[in-house]
Structure formats: C-alpha cells, structure tokens
C-alpha cells in the first residue's frame, strides 16, 4: 500500500481547519460510506461514485443543459423552486451540462485523485501543522471504506512525518481498513448508540463490528477522541447516554468525548443532490442546557467532554 499512484475518490479538501483533531488541520473528505445515518451531515459522502450537484437557486432556466445532455436525463421543471427534472438513473456523469451552464449551477461532487496529488496539497501546509500540532485528517464519507487509498495516505503521512488522524464510523471490515486505523496517529471515532437494534434503525447497520473495533484499537493504546452525535428522539435516551458513558469509562485510550448536537446545516445539500432529507420532522435542535446536562453525565464518568468538535 505504498503505491503513490493509487487513486481514491475525494469530494473535498479543506485547509486551515481548526476542528477535526488537534492543531491546524487539512481535512480530506473521501466519498462513500457503508452507513446511512438518518442525520448524516455529509450526504455527498454517502455514494462511492462522483455525483451531480444542482443548485436550483443559481439556475437561470436557459435550457442549454437540457439541449446538450446526451442521454436526455434533464428536462425543464415548471416548478420555479425546482427548475429542473434530473433523472439520476439515466445520468452518466459526463459533466457536459456543467460545462454548458453559464451560471455554474451544476457541480460534480467527487474527483479521482492519486495519493501523490493529495499529498502534494497536504504538504503545502506542513509548516502550520508543525507550529500547531496539527496534520491531516481523513474524513468522509467513511475513510476506511476506501481502505487501500486511506492506508496509502496514512503511510504517506508517516513518510513525511505529518500527523494523521482518521475520522471514522468504525464500521471497518477490511484488513487494510483496520490497518489504516491501527497506523493512524489519532482516531476521531463515532459512537452513535449501544443497543444494536436501535443502531441498525438509525444507521442501517448493527454496531457490533464498530464496538469490537473500538475495543481492539483502544487496547492497542491508540489515541481516540469519541464523537457522539446527539439526535433528539433517536439516540438521546438517558439509558443510551448512560450506556455509552459506561462503555467509554472502561476504555483506556479515550482522550476526550465530543458531543455533537443535532443540526440542520446540511439540509440544502440534500436538496442539491436530489436526496430527501430524512429528519424533516425534527423541528428543533437540542438546547445548550440539554447538551450541557449530557456533558455532565459523561464528566461524572470521569470523561473529558466538550460540546462540538
């Protein structure tokens, strides 16, 4: 897995991030995830292949894209809010509509890049990582769902003495995926629930693999920051909170727990990808008081806890 020409599908690279781990970081977002969390805030990270994004408010309804589309996947939509019908089944991601659009209403989410190409960008901020104790964070999607590429990135960081973190859901079933987690310097590890049935309802998968991986990595002494997405009505019962806290209390390598309150920041991005927003019925986000009370519970279990990541 040292092949610098190995490729992966990347949908975003964010520089100068103050979040996603310690110090100043560059975060590389990989496409594709085995989970379908109802509250997913990176919907563009779910599918593995590049996708077409359409920003309806930017569209001038000129119709050029409809004319140029070679497979007839596009049609004018009389609804002024929708502006276009997009047949995503037919779409081949050729990108001709995006090229033709004068107002940049389309975007292609996801780009195939080599390890070398990514590392060249990552290394540009090397100095700032050193000043701040930062580095690369591989996120997604699910980083370990592109196991070979992620492992190659981790190893490339090691070669360059750059700190590397992986932001993971922990549902890692491949050997190289597990190796990537084992070799990374820091893990941002999601714990989304304890009850396997509830976990399956919320994310589409059971959590046995996730918790097994967590315990194994913990026993190896891998530095871990736990992320607990707090979703009203889904994983916020006192029972769940206490069970998570009780589990984490037993682990030895957890450095911090970040409680991430439910937010709706990704709502428009669902729209742009033509995806329904799964939690349409949740009307309010958790109050600060509520989140503080959850934090207190974790702290009572001796866990260093903060709100937000």
């Amino acid at each position: 897995m040292n092949d610098s020409r190995l490729t992966g599908v990347v949908f975003n690279i964010v520089h100068s991030s103050f979040v996603d781990g310690y110090g100043i970081r560059t975060t590389v977002f990989l496409k594709g995830c085995p989970l379908r969390c109802l509250w997913c805030c990176n919907p563009e990270g779910q599918k593995f292949e590049p996708e077409l994004k359409f920003v309806a408010p930017d569209c001038s309804s000129c119709g050029k894209c409809v004319e140029i589309c070679p497979v007839g996947a596009l049609a004018i939509n009389p609804d002024p809010e929708q502006k276009l019908f997009i047949d995503r089944e037919k779409c081949t991601m050729c990108g001709k509509c995006a090229d033709a659009c004068a107002v940049n209403a389309f975007g292609i989410i996801g780009k195939r890049m080599t390890v070398d190409e990514v590392m060249k960008i990552v290394c540009k901020d090397e100095y700032y990582y050193r000043k701040s104790g930062g580095g690369l964070t591989i996120g997604g999607g699910e980083a370990t769902a592109q196991p070979d590429f992620t492992l190659a990135l981790v190893r490339a960081c090691k070669e360059n003495y750059i700190h590397v973190a992986i932001d993971t859901c922990g549902f890692t079933t491949t050997e190289n995926g597990r190796k990537a987690l084992e070799e990374a310097d820091l893990l941002l590890y999601d714990v989304k629930g304890i009850d396997p049935a509830e976990h399956r309802r919320n994310t589409g998968v059971s959590n046995e693999i996730i918790l097994d991986n967590l315990k194994r990595l913990d026993s190896m002494g891998k530095p871990i920051i736990i992320r607990y997405p707090f979703i009203p009505g889904y994983n916020d019962s006192q029972e769940t909170i206490k069970a998570i806290a009780a589990l984490l209390e037993k682990l030895k390598s957890v450095q911090r727990v970040d409680i991430i309150g439910y937010h709706e920041y990704s709502r428009t991005r669902y729209k742009e990808l033509g995806m329904p927003y799964p939690l349409e019925h949740i009307k309010s986000t958790p109050t600060n008081e509520r989140l503080e009370s959850v934090k207190t519970i974790f702290e009572q279990h001796g866990l260093k806890t903060q709100l937000g990541g």
Binding site: V14, T27, C41, R130, G133, G134, Y265
Partner: protein, 793 residues
Amino acid sequence: MGENKQITRIARLREKLCDTLPEICIERACLLTQSYRETEAYPEIIRRAKALEKILSSVTIRIEEDELIVGHTISKRRGGIVTPEINVENCREAIEAPSTSSDEFAPIPEDYISRMQDVMSYWKGKALFDRVQARVPGEILNVECKTMIPSGSSIANNYIGSHMSVDYSRLLAKGLTAIKAETEEKLAALDPLDPATEDSRNFYTAVIITLQAACDYSSRYADLAREMAGKEMNPQRAEELLHIAENCEWVLANPPRTFYEALQFVWLYFIVLMTEAWGPGMAFGRMDQYLYPYYKKDIESGIMTREQAQELLGCFCIKMNESGTRFSFEKIRTGGGLSVLSDITIGGVTKDGKDAVNDLTYLFLDVQEEVRMFADEVVIRISNVTPDKFVFRACEAARNLRGKFKFIGDETAVSSMLFNGLQLEDAREFALSGCSLPTVPGVSWDIIGGLVNLPLMVELALNNGYSPVLGEQIGAETGDPREFRSFEDVWEAYKKQVEFCQEVYVRVRNADRAVSAEYAATPFQSAGYQRCLDSGRDLTWGGSAPYVTDAISAIGGANACDSLAVIKKLIFEDKKITMDQLLEAMKKNFEGEEELLKLIDSVPKFGNDDDYADSIMVDIYDHFEKGMRRFKGYNNNKYTVQSYTAGGYLILGENVGALPDGRKAGIPISDGGASPYHGRNLSGATATFNSVNKIDIVKLSSGVALNMKFSPSLLKDAECIRKFAALLRGYFEKGGFHVQFNIVSSAMLLDAMKHPEKYRDLLVRVATYSALFTNLGPELQLQLVDRVENTEV
C-alpha cells in the same frame, strides 16, 4: 490617580472626546503666515524655525478636565489643521468642503473664511506644491496626476516627510537643554569665516531656535496648569494639576525622572513635531522599550502601581485620537479624514536579538482593551523568540478589539532593513510608521510617496497606452494588443507601461524632495536624529544619509496578476477566447458576457496557493522592485517599494475600466498590497499565507500589507486562540511581513448576507467544521449571526 478611578477616568475622557465634533484650527496657519511675512530676508531654514517658534509661543493652549497627560496638537480639543504653505488648493477645499456624515466636522466660523483668504493669498504661487509644479514639465505632471491618485508627491498630498520616528530613548535620556547645548557647541566649532559652513551654521541655528521654543512651550503648560490649580475647587484635581505643572516645568528641558514625566515628554515632543511638519505617520517608535526603564524603576520603588501606569497610558492613547487632518474631499475618501496614523510599536527583539517583551508590552494590550478607540494604532512585532504567552495574549486582545492591531514578522522586517543598508543592531530596532512602513527610529528617514495603480498598467498595455476611462493617452505606446502573438508580448507591454510610469513618478518625486529641502526643512525633527546633528544637515538635506529611502507604492497587484493569468490561460494557452473577444467584452463592461465571466472564474486566482497565478504575482513585484533600482533619489536616496494603500484602492479603482479578471469598471481594486482580491481566496488562511509568502517580500522593503477577515468564533476560546496564534507564527516564520485581521462582527455577517459577492472568502466556524459563510444557506447564516453576537466580547 485614585485606585478605583482608572476605568472611569478613561471612560470619561473617551466619552468626552467622542462627543466633541472635530474642528478646524486655523491658528497655526495664521501664525505661520504672520511669521513668514516677518522673515522674508532670512534663510529658509531659519524662517521654518522662527515660524515654529511663533506658533508655539502664541497658539492657544488648553488642559481638559480629567487629563493627566496634557497638550494639544491644535487649539481645539479635537480636529485638524490646514496647511496652506504646502498646498493652497487643498487648504481651500478643506475650508470649503461640506461636512459629511463619515467625516463630520463642526461648522467653520464665519471669520475663518476671510482670515484664511488673507493667508491663502500670501501662499498662492509659492506654496510647496506650486514650487513642485514649477519644476516639472506640464505633460509629465499631467500623466502623474492622471495615473496616480493621490499624486505621488507627498507635498501634493499635504504633508512633507512624516513617516518617521525620532529616537525617543536618546531624547528622554538627555532632555532638550543638553541637546541644545551640544548643538551650540557644534555651531561654535564651525568657522564663521568659511562660506562652506554656512548651511550647517544655519541648520544648527535653526535647531537651537526650535529646541528652545519647545522648552518654552512646555513651560506655558506648566504655567497654565498652575493657574488652573489655583482656581480648582476640587482638591484632588488641584493636586493633579500641580503635578502636571511640575511635570511640564521639568520636561522637555530636562531628562524625565519618572514614567509619568517620560510619557508627558513624549507627548509634548510629538506635538512640536506635528506643529513643525504636520502629516500622517509621526510614529512613537518602540514605546514598550524606551519607557520600560522608567516603568520598572517606578514600580520597584513603589511610587507608581501597575494600575496607575495603565491609567497614564490610557490617557496618552486617548490623546492620540484628538488630532487629524482635514484633507481635501478626495483625500477624505481615500485616507479617512481624521487619523494621523501614529503607530506605537511593541514586542519584537532587542538590539542584540533577544526577546524584548516585558511587562509594559503586556500593559499596552490591557490599555488597548480599555481605551477601545481607533487612532491609537498598536503594532505588534512577533519574532521567532517571542514567547507564546505573549502571542496568545495579543491574539486574544486582537479578538476583543475585532482586529485592530497590525502584526509584523520581525525576521522579514529586519531583513528588509538590512536590504535597505542598515546595520544589524539598528535594523533590530525598527518600528512601524504610517500604514506599515518599517523605519529605524532616529536612524533612518523613510519617505513615502503615492500609489502606482498596477491594474491600470494592465489596462494601458491592452490599449496601447490609452486610457478608455480618461479618454487620454497617458501611458507608453506599446502596440496594438490584437497583434500580440504570445503571453510574453503582453507581459512586455505591461512591463513597459510600469517602467514608463515609474519614470514619471521619479521625476515628480525628485522635484518634491528638492522643494522640501529648499523650503521645508524640519530642524526640530532633525534634532531627533543624532546623525543630523553630527553632520550638520537637516533631514530633508539627507542628514540621516546613507539611511534615507524614498518609497513608491505598487497597488492592486492581485487584480493585475489575476488579469494577466486570465490572458495567459484563456487566450494563449487554452485558446478558448481571442484577444479581440476579451477587449470587446471589457469595453462592454462584461454586459451580457456571463459565459466569458464563468470561463474567467475558472482561471486560478492569486491567494489560493496555486503557482499558476501566484508566480505571476511574484513576477509583478519582482519586476516593479528591479525597475525602481534604476533610479537614485534626491540626495542619493535609495528608491524602495512598498505595497499598501490606506483607503486608496477605492479611488484608484475609479480610473480603471473593466479588467480581464472580470472586475467591472470603476469599482475598487484589491486592498492592501499583498491582499488577494476580495472573495477570490477561497482555499483557507494557510493557502493565502502561502501565496503571499511566494512574493520576495524582503525586497519590498518599505512594507507590504495583507488584510484578512476572520470570524470571532474562530478565536472563541483558549484552544482556538492557540491555533490562531500558530497560524500567525507560521506565516511569519515562513517569511510574512504584515497581516491584520478583520475579526468580524455580526453586522458584517448580515452585510455578507446582503452582498455575498464581497464576502466570498469569509471563513466561519459551523458545528464541527469550518465553512465559507456565503456557501451556507440563509437559515444557517442567520443562526451564525446570532451565534457571533453571543461569542463576541
């Protein structure tokens, strides 16, 4: 100086000042003119000295309630002066200009107009600007005025040579009586029979007149304070007034014995400097260094507490907000009407390269948080040896003041000073003056000039030297752009336009310096430079030589760079458009050219750590700097390059039509010298820093400004401040010179919602990630607006 009164005193002084409308003072102009009428027969430098003496002995002086540091630069509590001796037309405009909401002045009294008519009639035809015009051919002056706004001549802009700092540490150590005695000795040593010593004898005589006038001026304050103390009913205030009287009796004549006396000394010296050669950028130098021995001694001996020192410094900083210049209308728009850009520099390294931060350095930050005004500019030097603790504290204070501070990278600034020819130990003593000009107090004299409009040079290169906006041939003839066969042809034409322009500016500037030397000597300022006293030459005569620079500012580099990148890529490399298409679209101001604009949008822009665009920026500044090396200035001055605009980018934009980079006609060009064009650096702060640091900044030795916007939420807690500080230190260690942050308020975020195009680079923190504000949906934007209000201090 009661224990619990500090906060209230500063608050009262601030409130009083804010409630006072600025007024125009014509006393200085009238007294100066009266003196000039009386001294027609004297050598010019003596006339300057006698005029200063006349003003200082007769101008109305005042001491305000609550003040502990006394002295006003003008006869009013707050406001500015007019300088008809420099430029009569600007003076007339200032008197006649209507008061505007952004630059509100109190109404001018009726009699001022007639009194000023008399004054202006004296100067008409012999003001300094008239003399510059008389020395430069009309066609050169025309091009100069048309391409460079405001003009490249300092004189045209109402000031002489004022971006400097005297050596306060030497002045404080000696006191003016001792310096006067030294000067008298030097004068006595010159052979009065030798005609070759005449200039020096006149210089020394002028210095002696001004030093005595300054001492007498402080005595006037002592008398006034004593008189007021006699009438004061409040015993505590009476005591304060007596203390003020004692201070002003002792300084400026004698070396101060306490921190309080030292501060009063610096303030009075500053007033005299301003009275002699009014202008922006009379810097205070490294205040935390030269005041520290006084501070330390008083704290250790117990005669002053840290809180009392804070109160005194607060009084000092408030006073910096009192004076300004009523510029002409144009200048108000570019420079802002009322700031004298007097920088206080703190931090950095000592002469021998060690960390210079001391308790007083920290105290300045505390004072800034308390005073919370605008004109008391604080410059923070950060070197590789500056402790993190101080950098964190400075970032925290910057957050609390929504930016405000200028941060300077010591190593680059010191290298720039070495590039200018200074000795290492002097170089390490640099301070900032004006916008961001590094100078060595009391050693180097660094004069600034006007602004070369780089985007205009691109436009002229694409129009054979003709300006479509002005309807005039103002540049060199560089050929029909439709005949250009390669990007190199465009680049050659651009270079020729720049070189032509530089030649024009240098001619005007040299005339400007010659006129200053003949008619606008500054003997009092020169007394703050040991080299002037040793050489017997005024600063304007090259008294500080070889440490004299003449800077020309290259502005709007980002627009020039982005425009050239578009031409290179779309016309010559990708061949997606023709030169003709681009020129036609520019002529139409891109009306109906959305597709072309989209193509333009896809070309890499400066500020994103993309070598395609950044390398052009590097070439632009490299070429400009090499171009300036062709010239020698008046007195053999070194010509240097600077790159910042104050507010000049607004007005410079008006003379430039639509640019190849998609910027529409008439709107502002990029601010700051190294700042990317607003909304085009979309790749994060590190990418912007990396782009800027590709420029060979050391060689732009008179300073390069970078302005950045940050959300306060990115500095919300200690952990974030640590990261922000790391970003700052990383930038400096990799070669950065200057950066200042706009740590934005919710009002700005609301404005960003209304005008997203102006804020495309605004980085904010959202939940677990950072995002560009304009990329967020409206509901979320509103949430963030609310959040910012919560996190702001």
